[in-house]
Symmetry: C2
Subunit: 207 residues, 2 copies
C-alpha cells in the first residue's frame, strides 16, 4: 500500500475590524500563491466589468435558494435583498486535488462552515490586546469618539465567540508579515494532526 | 490589563526505531538552541566523568521512590534494577519562564506524561511508510532477516498507540532538516491554540 496523496485543508480566517487581517491575507497569498481561494455565489446583478466565475458566480434567486435547499453552500448570508454564499463543490474540488483553501469570512459564516465541514481550521486574527486595538482605532484620527466606542463594544461582543475558533493569532503592530507566516505555519502543521493521518497509521498497522 | 507573558509548551517526541528521530532532535536543537531539555533522575551510580546535574541527577533508590510517591516525576521506568525518570519541577520551572521544553521518550513514558500533564504536545516521528522503514532496516545491511522482521512487527504493534499522539510527523528520506523545521513549526503553532490563549480572549472580553 502506498501512502495516499495528502488532501487539502480548508482554513477560515476571521478577525476584528482593526486586526489587519486583510493585509495579512494579501501578504500570505503573495508569499504562497499555491493556496486556493473560493469565488462566492451571489444573486446581485454583475456590475460593469465583472465577469461570471471571476468576481462572483452570478445566479438567480431561485437557483441560489435551490443551492441552500440542497446543502450546496458551505455558508451563506443575505444582505440588502441579495444572497452571498460559498459554493461547497468549488471548494471541495480544490481540496480533493490536494490544494489548501483559505476563506476570509466573518463569524456567522465561519460558524456555518464549521458545522457543515467540521475538519475546517478556524483562525481568528486579533490585535495583540484590546488596548492596542483602541490605540489603532484612535490613531486613524478619522473616527469619532462614538465610533471608537462602538467598535470596542463590538470587539468585546465578538470576543464571546472567539473560543469557537481553533487558533487565536495576534497581529503585532508592524509585523503583518510575521503574522502571515505564522498563519502559513499553522496550516502546514495541521497536515500532521493525527486525525488527518489515519491512512498513514493504517499503513503501519498492516505491516 | 496587559497580555501576560507566554508560557512554555512541553513537547514529547517519540518514534519508531529507524525513524531517524535522534538526528531530527539534534538538528532541531542546533537550529533552535532556545529549546529547553530535561535532565533525568536516576538511581544508577555515576560513571567516570559523569557529573550530578549534567548527565543525570544521581539519587538514591529511597529518594527516587519518595519522588514517585509525591508525584514529582512526569514519567519514570525501571531498567535492570535502576530507576530513570523526568523531574517535574525541573521541567515546570523552564515552562514558567516561558521556555519551550522537549523530551525525547518512548511510548510508555509519553503516555505517562500526557496523563500527568495533559497540555503536553505529543509528536510521533515516523518514516514516510512501512515500506520505507523496511527499506531502511535492510539498507543498513547489518541486520539479519530475523531482526528486520522483529523490528517491523514491533512497529506494527507500536502503531496501535500512534493515535494517542497529537501529531504524526513523517521524516522523509534525506530530509531530516525539513522534519526538524516541521517540528519547530508545530510547536510555534501550538502557542496560538485557543486553549492556550484564554488570557488573551479574556482581555478582549473586558473591553
Amino acid at each position: 500500500m502506498q501512502t495516499p496523496q495528502r488532501k487539502g485543508i480548508l482554513t477560515v480566517v476571521s478577525g476584528f475590524s482593526g486586526s489587519g487581517k486583510g493585509t495579512v491575507m494579501k501578504l500570505l497569498l503573495s508569499a504562497h500563491p499555491e493556496y486556493g481561494l473560493s469565488i462566492s455565489v451571489t444573486t446581485r446583478a454583475p456590475r460593469q466589468g465583472e465577469e461570471d466565475g471571476r468576481e462572483y458566480f452570478f445566479r438567480t434567486k431561485e437557483y441560489f435558494e435551490q443551492m441552500i435547499a440542497q446543502d450546496k453552500l458551505l455558508e451563506y448570508a443575505q444582505y440588502v435583498e441579495n444572497y452571498y454564499g460559498t459554493p461547497r463543490e468549488y471548494v471541495q474540488r480544490q481540496l480533493d486535488e490536494g490544494r489548501d483553501v483559505i476563506l476570509e469570512i466573518e463569524m456567522q459564516g465561519a460558524r456555518q462552515v464549521k458545522q457543515r465541514f467540521p475538519e475546517a481550521v478556524l483562525v481568528f486574527i486579533t490585535p495583540p490586546s484590546i488596548e492596542e486595538l483602541e490605540k489603532r482605532l484612535r490613531g486613524r484620527g478619522t473616527e469619532t469618539e462614538e465610533v471608537v466606542r462602538g467598535r470596542l463594544a463590538q470587539a468585546s461582543k465578538e470576543a464571546e465567540a472567539m473560543e469557537e475558533y481553533d487558533y487565536i493569532l495576534p497581529n503585532e503592530d508592524g509585523q503583518a508579515e510575521k503574522c502571515a507566516e505564522d498563519l502559513h505555519r499553522i496550516i502546514c502543521s495541521e497536515h500532521y494532526k493525527t486525525d488527518r493521518c489515519k491512512d498513514r497509521i493504517e499503513n503501519f498497522r498492516q505491516a
